[in-house]
Amino acid sequence: MLTRNVVQAFRFAQTRGIATSAKPLASSVYMDPGQSKNPAVSTTPRNITEEQRSALDSALRVDQAGEVAANWIYMGQHVVLGRDPKTGPLLQEMWDQEKKHLAVMNKMQLQHRIRPTLLTDVAKVAGFGLGAVTALMGREAAMACTEAVETVIGEHYDDQLKEMESLPEGHPSVPLLRDVIKEFRDDELEHLDIAVDNFSQRAPAHAFLSSVIGAGCKVAIELCKRV
């Protein structure tokens, strides 16, 4: 499964490289103040069924919580490994990308009128703790944490894209929503790629660490969908 994910990561990174040279990133529409009145970033589809609305609610709630947790994981890792000349800039780069993801998710939460999860503060504490503890275990363990988290998040975004196929194509916010999720999925898989390149698999008890962190992420996703 891991090998498959790594191959996927390479493929997504390549695809993204081609895509970025052809057109601007989907999320840039959200970061452009001049676009704030654009219906694609300021309105939500109203003619969707209750099931679709509920699926959209839980999907964006989980995504936002995931980005909060990811930010705090990188913060925890950066506190410990930030001064390492090789790992510090790498963590900072991934963290900056997560900051952008969170800023976009916050805008999407307001646009689609999503109730945020009540577990935000739990996600922050757990994320920081996970990041700091794995970083204290060493550089490879920190990368193994990144690999495990990004694998689950990448797969989660992929599942969401399939779920979102049922949303009405006619509303301008729907194609943009899908493009943003695709972009974020590719970013997360790029982080996975970086983690593997930086010897995540040499971490002590790598398989155990990956399965524990991966299971924790899956539990957190289910909790944030509901609470």
Partner: protein
């Protein structure tokens, strides 16, 4: 009759609430307001009301909830008109005032409506030898929360995470207090609402200042620890 017909009759029943209250009578007489050639000469039968809007007090609750839904629609419509004429989003105060104005024609029947909703789904409970009044606060809370949420959305409020809940909870409490005040003294509602919003804003500012001060304190401590060579 279809759901569409039900919605049409509910719309026609709203002006009749002034005279009949949120009752099955208002629903029964709504068919007399249909435009020709659909106009009927006699009110809807009890069986037809039950079939369209639910049995017993459920029909009344359907009418009350429709009134609340239309209130939200009214806020949206007013917000759009504001944006069109002034080029800015309406403020929370303007939106809540507008929603309270929407209550005015049926003010005399609102307390009955809330009482009816509160007693709808509650079952009689016992606390030792005492019988607790069967009151269900959820419909009232839901009503206030929906208005607070709509006001936040229409005013462009950007609260996220836990402040999303805090903002809506405080506005729902303010709106509930203002609405209760409106039922007893309608002429002073706007001033009462304004004073509540001012107090809430002052409380928020004080809280923000404490949070800012705490963050400075934390940063100072961090700096002191670093300068001692702990990191």
């Amino acid at each position: 009759m279809s759901t569409h017909t039900g919605a049409r009759l509910l719309k026609l029943a709203l002006p009749l609430v002034r005279t009949h209250g949120f009752t099955r009578d208002a629903l029964a007489f709504s068919v007399l307001e249909l435009p020709p050639p659909e106009t009927l000469s006699s009110p809807l039968s009890d069986a037809a009301i039950s079939s369209l809007f639910g049995p017993g007090s459920k029909a009344e609750h359907t009418l009350i909830n429709f009134f609340f839904d239309e209130g939200l629609e009214h806020m949206r419509y007013r917000a759009q008109a504001w944006s069109g004429s002034t080029g800015r989003s309406p403020t929370i105060k303007e939106l809540l005032e507008e929603r309270l104005k929407y209550n005015e024609p049926v003010l005399g029947h609102l307390s009955d409506a809330f009482a009816s909703l509160a007693s709808a789904s509650a079952s009689v409970a016992q606390l030792g030898p005492f019988q607790i009044p069967p009151v269900d606060p959820l419909p009232g809370l839901k009503h206030a929360f929906r208005i607070a949420d709509e006001a936040c959305y229409l005013s462009g409020d950007a609260s996220t995470e836990l402040s999303w809940y805090a903002r809506r909870a405080s506005l729902a409490a303010i709106y509930t207090a203002a609405e209760l005040h409106q039922i007893t003294s309608p002429h002073t509602t706007d001033r009462f609402l304004e004073s509540l919003l001012d107090s809430s804003s002052r409380a928020k500012n004080s809280f923000d200042e404490v949070a800012l001060f705490s963050s400075y304190l934390f940063k100072s401590c961090k700096g002191i620890i670093k300068s001692l060579g702990a990191n």
